[in-house]
Amino acid sequence: MTVNAAPPAVRTLLAAEDLRVSFVGTEVVRGISLSVAPGECVAIVGESGSGKSVTARSLLGLAGPGSVVRAGAFRIAGRDALGFGPGDWRRLRGRFAGLVLQDALVSLDPLRTVGAEIGEVLAVHDAVPRARRTERTLELLASVGVPDPAARARQYPHQLSGGLRQRVLIASAIAAEPELIIADEPTTALDVTVQAQILRLLAERKAGGTALLLISHDLAVVASIADRVLVMKDGRTVEEGPTGQVLSAPEHPYTRSLLAAVPSAASRGTRLSTAPPLVGAAARTAGESPAVGGGPRTAAELPPAGGGVRVAGEPPPVGRAVSRAWPVLAGVGLSKSYGARTVVDEVSFVLHEGETLGIVGESGSGKTTLARLALGLLEPDAGRVSLHRRPWSGVPERGRRPLRPRIQLISQNPLDSFHPRHTVGRLIAEPLSLSVSASLSASLSASASASRSLSRGERRDRVLDLLARVGLGPEVAGRHPRELSGGQRQRVAIARALGPRPDVLVCDEPVSALDVSIQAQVLDLLAEIQAEYGTAMLFISHDLGVVHHVSDRVLVMKDGQVVEEGDVEQVFTRPRHAYARALVAAVPRLPRARDVNVT
């Protein structure tokens, strides 16, 4: 194992060599060496399951119940941590190192006021005399940029915005003036402008001499603040070094694939993932084709299965054809209010055949309500929606039902939309048995006779076909959604949505819960599907990089209104509205070095 030899002049706060953490026999951290010096920011980057969070928590003796922590050497604040008992660890926690977790809504006690949470740290470590605790709490809140601290201190976490809550969490972590802040995904649940504020706040602490250990899945976040980066995979360090070097000239293939997987302006029109996602594509039956409209496709047109390895950066296999002539889905002057709160305010949009319309905005901007209006799940208070130039809002559900198969939803968390006791095969087969419209024209003439029920065998073939299309093998059909990984589940959701051969896919944050490499595969899959079937997509995301990567046109929403609309390049390079400019400016960026990605 490599040992981080810190310069001898610098006092090391924390140094671990060959750190290993195992849970009931399974080793999840397999020999990590790291050190942190005062005023330094070290980042651990990795995807879920890489062991980065367990590593961070084991540095506070909080690896969790049933964990066994071993190390070649483990020194904290000049003491040997290998012999620490519970009392030793407790005295270090909060005092030597403060912990900031993701999502303060659950990381702060929801039943206590935020003032009490901060005061608790002061009390435990006797940081200030009892009489000064309230005063100190308010000072801390002010120091992390919480306005009107006296009023905020009496509020509960759910009464504060996401950004303010995260500031409170940071205030509680720094209350006893620790030398080290361990921040585990501190900005992951936040909107991009709020993320920028929190990163600035952490950078200020670092400038003040506090050391920072940052755990993140987001390379761009790390790029803006870290001095050194460790890239972790499967419990091991695959690469480490100064941030600039690791991110602009990565040596390890895994680091390179991670960097290539980040969607951005530069990645438009290219593949993000390197490995071919198709598994078991051979299971596709020759006779059946999932093609919509364009007639059956030959095997030669299909993406290669297993044989040809596609490389990130390549254009997708089939070109895109956007036909501006035919608006598949349109909304005019849509408004929706809940009580006195207007959630969607006079929004109009048009989605053409084969086109992707990106909708960006921060939480509470009305994106998801707009998606529900578009899906005909919610009636607008004013305005109307049309699907294939037929009224889609303001009609009884019975009138909508024949057209329902033409518009499908892919949501952020597919697990919530799956019946937990059904197998994957049954989940995908369900929409198939409701209605099978042979083609678009058949459905538009609304002939119920065009719908017929599939036989068991046909349905099974179609399920396997759909699974193969999204890169899953036939064995997945017999499994339950819980047994699948996040990426596999989202593939199943896509297969289910493709089943009725829709013309419109409404994608509501479809990749927000996924790791960057899985996100890359899913985005590539969606691009392939669009290229192959000409499906139009309403693509909703808070992630500007993702929207930039996939969209043809973009709507920027704020407080229920569309503040900017236009071609994707225009919106992202020359935004007109002040909010759109702020949004684009707040996106953390990677150093520009895409040339090194191409192998």
Partner: protein
């Protein structure tokens, strides 16, 4: 608050009406009961019918009953020839003592066991779990008989029956409180263990809190939420269990009165006991509903 009061009144009215209907449907003639062991002549029967107004149509009798209820008149007992209100007032004291003592035992035991065993080793948890399961599944009268045979008949520590002094309260309160401790203990421990796995518990530990402080200052309050939702069951178990326990231990109280009234078909008393139970139920669930809001600031507001 007004809505809550309305709901409470509706429950009371439903209880009054249901018990009145039960009276109508009950087999046997009211006059027979009123005549009882006394002389049975047509003259006496006519006198009784006139005195109790039994010749009026049933709807009129029902409305008259409700009207008298509204004025706080619970009627007269058929058997004891005393005002029902008076009977209840004299018997409510011992029952209140018993149920409150049982509730205190149940809540205290549940709390102590849950805090002591939450998140601890397999053996300790398993033992507590088994004890809870036994106390829940064994009927209270059996627990009572066991307690009696061990502590009264064999050891002679406590009196076998009666309500003389605090010593006489120990065994019946235990018999009634143990099943409550069992259910409540399981719910509390489950709540504690869930709370201790939440991200805020990691944050609290990272502040340097001891496990004990974490339970006392954070987790216990979270565990109370599911426990409070058990309020309805809790009240019902106490009231229903009180009847059996009082009879078993020969304690005076509402349970004894209810038992005698049911066997003697003394319907005014039965109905009054039903009404009183409904009133207690409504009051307690309202109080606990309010406490729910005090525990969880996320509710209502």
């Amino acid at each position: 608050m007004i809505k809550r009061l309305g709901t409470g009144l509706a429950v009371m009215w439903a209880a009054a009406t249901a018990s009145y209907l039960a009276l109508l449907l009950a087999p046997g003639d009211t006059v027979d009961i009123l005549v009882g062991e006394g002389a049975d002549t047509p003259e006496i029967r006519a006198e009784i019918i006139a005195e109790w107004g039994l010749d009026r149509p049933e709807a009129v009798q029902y409305l008259d009953y409700l009207w008298r209820l509204l004025h706080g008149d619970l009627g007269r007992s058929y058997q004891l020839d005393r005002g029902v209100g008076e009977i209840l007032a004299s018997q409510a004291g011992p029952t209140a003592q018993l149920t409150l003592a049982a509730a205190a035992i149940g809540v205290t035991l549940a709390g102590v066991i849950a805090v002591a065993t939450a998140g601890r080793g397999r053996w300790l948890r398993g033992a507590a779990s088994a004890a809870e399961l036994v106390s829940v599944s064994v009927p209270p009268f059996l627990i009572g008989i066991l307690l009696l045979s061990v502590f009264s008949f064999t050891l002679g520590w406590f009196p076998v029956s009666g309500a003389a002094g605090p010593q006489a309260l120990v065994l019946p309160a235990l018999a009634l409180g143990l099943p409550i401790a069992g259910v409540l203990g399981q719910v509390l421990r489950g709540g504690l263990e869930r709370a201790l796995e939440q991200p805020f518990a990691v944050t609290a530990r990272a502040r340097g809190l001891t496990e004990r402080a974490l339970v006392a200052r954070h987790a216990l309050r979270h565990a109370l939420l599911p426990a409070v939702t058990l309020a309805g069951w809790f009240t019902g178990a106490l009231l229903g269990g009180a009847v059996i326990t009082e009879v078993l231990f020969g304690r005076p109280g509402l349970g004894q009165i209810a038992m005698q009234a049911v066997t003697g078909r003394d319907m005014p008393v039965v109905m009054a006991v039903v009404l009183l139970s409904a009133a207690v139920y409504v009051t307690i669930s309202t109080l606990l509903d309010l406490s729910y809001r005090a525990i969880d600031p996320r509710i209502g507001g």
